[in-house]
Symmetry: C2
Subunit: 364 residues, 2 copies
């Protein structure tokens, strides 16, 4: 089963991916515009299921790497997107046969759609996390042993950088330096892999799931309760079925700084009428942990997303504001994201949070 | 006329290039050992004159980029040297047909010899400055319009980085970040060019001249006055014929810090028996300006080199010490290095020295 990429579908994917992006992965509005422009000009690219890929397919990823706070002002998604993949193809000598998303997020779920449309290539219905993460080693591709490099970074000046690093963390360190030097946001193509490798290391169906989540929220709005529709949809999925509203209230404190190439901070939420905040959420581009009265109620890699209380529109970390009325939703992630190897790579301690992962179904 | 690369010739080239390196370009002892090892294992590579290169030759440069103070402790010249060129060849798709030195300096004049021996390729008797400079845009190749990139950096962990930048200064900025990240010293191959381009942009005969300078010092030691022999030799060359002993004395103050990826500092020298220092030399890896009693007596791009008072062994900035007895020699550089375009690229103001270039022949 594949999905059709139409302009309305792009709206829903952007919204759904922003939910999965847990605050990160970039502004869904920009992601949607980028893909919409490409679809209008080149037509919709075909979507191919992971299991239908030929084993010898040459897959290239494309994403924007940088601090979301920067990308609000420094727009991305121009010629550097194509250039990153072209520089990498030139280096490997293998032309791309399909484009593979790295993560689900407002921009990074739709950038592959844009590039696939431009290049006349299919986009794969899969990614490397079923959510978004801030660092490039934090992906199932790495957990399953696919090398992050050679990888290519490109910027809006036509400059690029092809990096071969000894491991994914070293690749992240080098790329992050370049991101900061290049202005805080660049196009990145990493983890070039074959179809056979993707079948082993990628998470199938996540682009379809982003579409389904976005559609559920839209339908719920029309029916009067987008949260009920969203939770209902999530409960019907394999990956995200353990889910709950973790809190409902008003943002009363927000600390956010753009540092080391990331948006890092903390958001406090008070229940209506309450004198003090009862929920605290920490983030590094993405939301990492939600604590209620000091007790952890959801923690990475499980999802923590803040949504507008009325419309259930997901809110990215760079657009959080004092006084916003929000609902916080937590949800489980695909089992491959919770393996011991996966937790060593992107569990709480890899973000400096000194506690063990606990599945959301045990916490709520 | 070409030269023969024998083990004794390597000693002389290392010494002569260290003189031309004006304090930078790395430790001649390490440069000589690296080349000597390669000659013993693979035999001496042929030396080809610039004008004898085929126009369609594929020339690749090789150098160590970093702070000399770091390279005293972090040895360079292993597998990363070959890797830098290999990564760049893979990227351009054009295999090297000869190796071209970028600069004359203790390591960087002999690293091309080492690599040429290993690869069974000729080394070109030429370079891009006839001296050494700290930043990679500071080279006649750039002044004459040869692009610095694509270029490749490689380190001892087998990691590499192929960079395409919009101009040589941006290439320098990106490479310097990587140098710092990779530990302060890496192998670099930049300015890939054809034989026709090299004939237009390179300075011919500089490897021969380094050899001649080293031989003159050695012969002078045997005859009893290495300085007389050195100055006599320089006066017979087209490039360095305006030359003089600028000062003779003892180092009484030395400020040197390793910062922004460079060795930056200042050295004060007092004449024998004098109570205060009368000569001051500023350096950024290389010596930049010599001032006597506050008056400039030699300034970049002209040469300022400190040598051991007894042996005329050139002293690199990282091995300067309090109490050393030194003679300071200044000398002119090839005319291509003094053009308005050249001075805009590596004249005094490009190092933050707020004065105009004056030829040494007008100052002494």
């Amino acid at each position: 089963m594949t999905i059709d990429l139409s302009i309305p579908a792009l709206h829903d994917i952007a919204r759904g991916a922003a939910f999965l992006g847990t605050g990160g992965g970039g502004d869904p509005y920009i992601g949607r515009l980028l893909a919409q422009h490409a679809l209008a000009k080149y037509g919709a690219p075909p979507v191919v299921a992971l299991q239908d890929l030929p084993d010898d397919a040459n897959l290239y990823t494309i994403a924007i790497m940088g601090a979301p706070t920067v990308m609000v002002e420094k727009l991305v998604g121009g010629d550097e997107v194509g250039l990153a993949v072209k520089a990498l193809e030139q280096h490997t000598g293998r032309p791309a046969t399909a484009i593979l998303p790295v993560e689900m997020g407002g921009i990074n779920s739709l950038l592959p759609v844009k590039l696939a449309a431009e290049r006349g290539l299919p986009v794969v219905d899969a990614d490397g996390m079923g959510r978004a993460f801030p660092e490039l080693q934090m992906v199932t591709f790495n957990v399953m042993g696919i090398p992050a490099t050679p990888m290519a970074l490109a910027n809006e000046h036509g400059e690029y950088n092809v990096i071969s690093a000894r491991d994914a963390k070293s690749a992240e360190d080098m790329a992050r330096l370049m991101v900061i030097h290049m202005g805080g946001g660049v196009a990145l193509s990493c983890y070039p892999m074959s179809g056979a490798e993707a079948k082993r290391a990628a998470i199938p169906g996540t682009l379809s799931l982003a579409l389904g989540i976005g559609q559920a929220i839209a339908a719920g709005r029309r029916a009067g309760d987008p949260f009920e529709a969203l939770l209902g949809y999530l409960r019907g999925t394999d990956y995200y079925r353990h889910c709950a509203v973790l809190f409902d209230g008003k943002i009363v404190d927000l600390v956010r700084e753009t540092t080391r190439g990331f948006s890092i901070g903390r958001c406090s939420i008070a229940a209506d009428g309450a004198a003090t905040a009862d929920m605290e959420i920490l983030f590094q581009n993405e939301n990492l942990v939600a604590r209620r009265g000091g007790r952890t109620v959801a923690i990475v890699p499980d999802l923590v997303t803040m949504l507008d209380r009325e419309t259930a529109e997901p809110i990215t970390t760079e657009s959080l504001k004092y006084g916003q009325r929000v609902r916080v939703i937590g949800a489980s992630v695909p089992p491959i994201m919770r393996s011991p190897a996966a937790l060593a790579c992107f569990g709480p301690r890899s973000f400096g949070i000194e506690e063990d992962f606990q599945p959301i179904e045990d916490l709520i």
